[in-house]
């Protein structure tokens, strides 16, 4: 008998705030976190805007009780903050944590540190190689976060670009459903990095100004950073612990576009297939709100809109892109938006797409422009990544 998968804890840090409450406040009060960066060392600081977390690495370390002299990747620091909150909200004991699985999604890993030291390496000058590069790989961030929170269960790191943390939540869900795990912390983290900034810039898909997802005149995305984790649990475990339930993961799907390395197919085939898979597993529920991937690029918003139209035909649910608030948080996006989807369910509210002046005319329904009170039972969240990796999660009250 397949186990049901519940969410019993959540944690988040983003440009909107350090925890769930602060993020909810910003969302409800239309306070975007996109601005010129304070901490990212780049020549583009004055030219471009980002969804940067409003704390330096040292401030994060102090908040976490770590020595400021210790070299820790910003990706890991953000992950630690969010993972800590998710455990606190779930009420998991340190004993229970020992066997809890930890699923982390990231694309940047420790690149924020590697890139800072790369010039010194190339110039063959004196360098502390261990602190510069030993944390470079994605799995190292996972290991650091797992160590910090005291999780000793199996770890897993998924790196599928923009769908990474949607995929970790999906993976945790599949394992709990199959009876292979009882409790899992799943989500992801990514910090801003010069590498990623320059990469996206070379693809010419950045907007120098705050992004406008689903706007006819959208110019591209803003990069963001952050981390978020959900505590997922089997029904048996929730009942045993008497845990508070924030929602249920009822559907998920991953599909590959197999069209082009970076661009989505015009028909949005990958996105459509992912949404269909998720709907199928969820039992084709009525969707009250779609938290779209909606990066603000010409390509994504077009193909995602077409995919949504193909699936929902004339009955398009309310939809928006919260990337208009946070920027595109890459590997963390799936999890951050999962938290936003659950906030929507728990507060019966839907969040707007900011800065839409001339809405696109693909879909028969316009995106949401205001914070609207609305009965929200079921939310669909999309995360569509590079390499055509498309994922959809569906949560229910």
């Amino acid at each position: 008998m397949a186990e049901r998968v519940y969410v019993s804890g959540w944690g988040i840090i983003s440009a909107l705030g350090n925890n769930v409450e602060e993020n909810l406040y910003a969302l409800k009060n239309k306070k975007s976190g996109i601005a010129h960066p304070e901490f990212l060392h780049t020549n583009y600081a004055k030219q471009k805007v980002f969804g940067e977390v409003k704390h330096s690495n040292d401030e994060l370390k102090i908040q976490l009780g770590l020595k400021t002299s210790k070299t820790v990747s910003r990706t890991a620091l953000l992950g630690m903050v969010a993972a800590k909150e998710s455990i606190e909200t779930s009420g998991l004991s340190s004993h229970e944590l020992k066997s809890t699985l930890f699923f982390n999604g990231t694309s940047v890993g420790g690149m924020d540190i590697s890139e800072r030291n790369y010039k010194v390496f190339l110039d063959n000058e004196k360098l502390d190689y261990k602190s510069s590069f030993s944390g470079h790989d994605c799995g190292h961030s996972t290991e650091s976060i797992a160590n910090f929170i005291g999780s000793k269960g199996e770890t897993s790191t998924i790196s599928t670009a923009c769908s990474s943390s949607a995929n970790t939540i999906m993976q945790a869900g599949r394992m709990i459903k199959a009876g292979k795990a009882e409790i899992a912390i799943a989500g992801g983290t990514d910090a801003l990095s010069v590498f990623t900034l320059n990469g996206f810039n070379s693809l010419k898909i950045l907007d120098d100004n705050p992004c406008k997802p689903f706007d006819e005149n959208r110019k591209g995305l803003n990069l963001g950073e952050g981390a978020a984790y959900l505590v997922l649990e089997s029904e048996s475990s929730v009942n045993r612990r008497g845990a508070k339930i924030l929602g249920e993961l009822i559907g998920y799907g991953n599909a590959n576009d197999a069209y082009h390395q970076t661009a989505s197919s015009p028909e949005g085939t990958g996105a459509l297939n992912a949404m269909k898979k998720a709907m199928n597993i969820a039992g084709n529920p009525a969707i009250d709100y779609i938290n779209a991937h909606g990066t603000g690029t010409g390509n994504n918003d077009m193909s995602e809109s077409i995919a949504i139209k193909s699936l929902f035909q004339e009955n398009i649910p309310n939809y928006s892109s919260t990337k208009s608030y946070t920027g595109h948080t890459l590997g963390a996006a799936g999890a951050i938006e999962a938290v936003f989807s659950l906030l929507s369910i728990n507060n019966n509210v839907v969040f707007p797409c900011l800065r839409v002046d001339s809405p696109m005319d693909i879909l028969p329904k316009l995106p949401i422009f205001n914070v609207n009170d609305q009965e929200v039972n079921c939310v669909m969240s999309n995360s569509l990544g590079f390499g055509g990796n498309c994922s959809t999660l569906i949560f229910r009250k």
Binding site: T42, N43, Y44, S107, G109, S114, E115, Y118, F121, L122, L127, Y129, K130, F133, S134, H136, D137, C138, G139, H140, T142, E143, K152, G153, E154, T155, S156, T157, I158, S159, T160, A161, N167, Q171, R174, M175, A178, K180, V194, F195, N198, G199, F200, N201, S202, L203, N254, A255, N256, A258, Y259, H260, Q261, T262, G270, N273, F386, G387, G388, N389
Partner: protein, 346 residues
């Protein structure tokens, strides 16, 4: 969940891609680390498609293509890869470009190629596979995460899953890891550290046996940061219990000896205790050490079982086993990431 290995292919620092001349003799490496012996990719990759592909992607595509031949144009239900460090060549190139141009005018190709899931993405792109596509990048569990996921897919009802482990070395990584003290040069035997290697090992897994099936994956277990060696031993026995195989039935044990005194301690302990009467084999003298080396270990174990033979200098202790029915593959990375896999004869 039992799964059949219906095909496997590997590119490694020895001749493993060419199935007809599979490791006939060991070819010493001429450089500081064990570099993969690669095929002529032009033989099977359209230059138009391959022109952007970095080395690691070509390795992945080549070994995947070999595994997928038996599907005759059909696509697997999932493509799942594990890679510890991803596409280093393009990462290093893009980083260098950023430094040299001071964040100036940059060519996007290296950036696009640098993302970890590019390999699995390209494999899917080339065969038009729109199914589930995951990439794990989790240090010494990168391949094991992928394998566990693949078995779950089969359990969920997929017929075929393509799964593999892949990592590459570039001179920069070798240099950095030497300076950190994680590796030694290939010809320097003094420090008792592992030698870096690289490669791709792919598998086509299925819940259905066919006449080409090489071996069966009976089960896999992973153990993260065990407190002591006893926990490792317990994990091995737990796997045997779950797969209903007795220790007496295990013919050979393939272990991840890597020349490092510290790392090899656990292998030595097992050899003098629970594996005392077994034929003990090694594989990292062929593959070298890297995050997903265990993928190669499982690959060569499958070959040993399918062909009922061992390959050069693999036997470390004991006698060559007459018949390999069951083979355990036990490996760890840096004493933190332990995995044990049980393979059997079809």
């Amino acid at each position: 969940m039992r799964a059949y290995i219906n095909a496997t292919s590997a590119i490694s620092p020895q001749s493993t891609f060419d199935v007809d001349n599979y490791i006939e003799e060991l070819i010493p490496s001429e450089i500081d680390y064990l570099k993969a012996i690669e095929p002529n990719y032009r033989d099977f990759l359209d230059p138009k498609m391959a022109r952007r592909m970095a080395r690691i992607i070509k390795m992945g595509v080549a070994t995947s293509n070999k595994c997928l031949e038996s599907l005759a144009g059909n696509t697997p239900g999932a493509i799942i890869l594990g890679t510890g460090l991803g596409c280093l060549q393009d990462t290093a190139k893009f980083l260098k470009d950023i430094v040299e141009t001071e964040e100036g005018l940059l060519s996007p190709t290296a950036f696009i190629q640098s993302t970890h899931n590019t390999i699995a993405g390209q494999i899917a792109l080339l065969i038009g596979c729109t199914s589930h596509n995951f990439t794990y990048a989790n240090r010494g569990f990168s391949f094991e995460n992928a394998l566990g996921d693949a078995l779950l897919h089969l359990e969920e009802g997929n017929d075929y899953v393509l799964v593999g482990g892949i990592d590459e070395v570039i001179p920069e990584t070798n240099s950095i890891l030497k300076k950190i003290g994680c590796t030694q040069g290939n010809n320097d035997k003094s420090k008792e550290l592992p030698v870096l290697g690289e490669g791709a090992a792919m598998f086509l897994l299925s819940s259905n046996e066919n006449e080409e099936s090489l071996a069966v994956v009976e089960g896999v277990k992973t153990l993260f940061k065990p407190n002591n060696q006893d926990e490792v031993i317990e994990s091995i026995f737990n796997l045997l219990i779950e797969t209903e195989v007795d220790m007496n039935q295990v013919d050979g044990v393939l272990m991840g000896y890597n020349n490092s005194k510290k790392d090899d301690a656990i292998y030595d302990k097992l050899v003098t205790s629970i594996f005392e009467d077994k034929s003990i084999y090694q594989f990292k003298h062929i593959s070298g050490e890297y995050f997903t080396a265990n993928a190669f270990g499982c690959h060569i174990a499958a070959k040993m079982i399918a062909n009922q033979k061992e390959y050069p200098e693999m036997l470390v202790k004991g006698n060559t086993t007459n018949i390999i029915n069951y083979m355990l593959v036990y490996n760890h990375f840096n004493a933190d990431y332990h995995s044990v896999t049980l393979l059997s004869k079809c």
